[in-house]
Amino acid sequence: MTRVFISRDMASIALGADDVARAFVQAGCEVVRTGSRGLFSIEPLVEVETDEGRIGYGPVGPQDVAAVLDGTHGARLGRVDDLPFFAGQQRFTFARCGVIDPLSLADYAAHGGWRGLEKARGQSPQMVVDAVKASGLRGRGGAGFPTGIKWQTVLDASAATKFIVCNADEGDSGTFADRMLMEGDPFCLIEGMAIAAHAVGAGHGYIYIRSEYPFSIAAMRAAIDASAHIVAPFTLEVREGAGAYVCGEETALLDSIEGKRGQVRAKPPLPALQGLFGQPTVINNVLSLAAVPFILAEGAEAYAAVGFGRSRGTMPVQLAGNVKHGGLYEIGFGITLGELVNGIGGGTASGRPVRAVQVGGPLGAYFPPGMFHLPFDYEAFAQAGGLIGHAGITVFDDSVDMAHMARFAMEFCAAESCGKCTPCRIGSTRGVEIMDRIIAARVPAQSGAGGQIAPSRNGVLEKALYSRAPDRIDVSVEAQTRLLRDLADTMKYGSLCALGGFTPYPVLSALDHFPEDFGAPAPIKEAAE
């Protein structure tokens, strides 16, 4: 009986993998459902086990079964590992994803699983924390805080009860690495959490998964049940989010687990000292915890050997949006933005020129192609006025209106603000209003009407949208742009957490790099290009 491998990742299923799998079962094949390899332009992907290895075909539909099985199908890709998209990667965390049956303990063990946990349990907690420190691993959720130092704080805290919390509230648009790992290799995350529990002395762990990821929730619950005897006495449970983006912020997430509104807490106290239910808590992103088994199994040096500057190890970069070859590309830090977008991603899916990329989700900056020399590195991006975040790169072609994207950033912040601090709660709404005024004001200028009120719009709205004293407000683009910068400054330095604090990144980067969309003259360097 022929064995074929077909992904059951949510993205593959969205592209029709279930129908394909059913067709192969009907044809008498043994179908193994795996995670996704991570290149969505070849999904649904079918890999057929042969003497020469697993030969991939994709994209294929249910009508292609016969052609795939006799090897004549036009979309024959050869060995998937040899495709350029995969050959160039350094898969430390995602080594098994797309290869194994995610819920098979035998597959996991046969592919190096549990070796990290075994090694950790043979060592003292301090030695495990030291290994994580030596690896240089930094928080993959976005903040980039050294994971080992966080663990040390929890290890040193004296308390009878400590918790491990995994932040799987991956709400950033353009990111899907957490989801892919939970669906494609859930035991890896469980192993990482069990190692963390041993390192700090925790007995129970929570995985907080957003409700938009039903497949991840199901996979993690099944994996927790299947591996309970291995990680015991450590116990785990899944908590389902409820559609609040702000719960990706660690203290809001803790409140949400406690059954409260997901509102941000003031820090200090740090969650490492007074976290979940007031107890010392390790709270890490999925990718941080999933990197740990490799670090323990292969050694901290092996992990730290790749990377760039103070960013050590690999980053599972996610190529998203209007990109030709979108997917997950795990590589050591230091690769440039241009190599990722144009080299690996192959430019836009629409075939039009790339105009902007947003790195790091809704709170990340927009960069023009003129900045594609930037190396993927926490410090380099911070210096350029942006952030890596969760390493999602969303590509936009030249049809994008950056003023609309800036407005959307404010609108999103207004919709998702937890309401605890004023700069975020009120500032985001005022930001939408300013953007509406700028967008309204730039239209006459573009059509050459000389700033006259367009007949299609209400006069008062045109003068000062939403204002109670419209005549006293200067609604010129220049004045509103000044006001926008002032507001961004207040939000950046006055907000309690990254939601309000980082919303200025997409807004100001759009304004700085694409002023022509805000009714201002285009920068000279763009005109020269």
Binding site: L15, F176, Y213, A242, G321, A415
Partner: protein, 150 residues
């Protein structure tokens, strides 16, 4: 519903941190969390009604009114926008006959926004009664419209 809540808390406990899982369970059972059962929830978990109301209204997932028989969620986040999401959103509202965020008057379907399904390289994306659909275009909209007409 009181019976359901009683059975649920007997099985899963009645500590405060059970509130979100209980609300999810109620919504799974009834389709929404009726304001009328807030006192029963508060009583079961020993919370104030205001506290429970605050939690229900904080989270986008919890509905306080019955949804349509079918629920179509359409992603509005950046990566789907980069792939023509805004145009598809307009087309969907027109084709399905219901504005974004509302339930059609005949109660047949609700069109709801969602901010990212994590399928960001193959957008615009939708969830049709929980089933993910990628690369939503005019043809896909027709298929969705036929599906939710049933």
């Amino acid at each position: 519903m009181e019976e359901f809540i009683g059975a649920w808390t007997a099985r899963h406990g009645k500590s405060r941190d059970r509130l979100l899982p209980l609300l999810h369970a109620i919504q799974e059972e009834a389709g929404y969390v009726d304001d009328a059962i807030v006192p029963a929830i508060a009583q079961a978990l020993n919370l104030s009604r205001a506290d429970v109301h605050g939690v229900i209204t904080f989270y986008h997932d919890f509905r306080r009114a019955a949804p349509g028989r079918h629920v179509v969620k359409l992603c509005r986040a950046e990566s789907c926008q980069a792939r023509g999401g805004a145009a598809i959103e307009e087309a969907a509202a027109r084709r399905l006959g219901v504005p974004m965020g509302e339930t059609r008057v005949d109660g047949q379907l609700s069109l709801e926004p969602v901010y990212c399904l994590g399928l960001c390289a193959i957008g615009p994306n939708a969830l049709v009664d929980g089933r993910p659909v990628a690369r939503v275009d005019a043809a896909a909209l027709e298929r969705i419209a036929a599906e939710v007409a049933a």
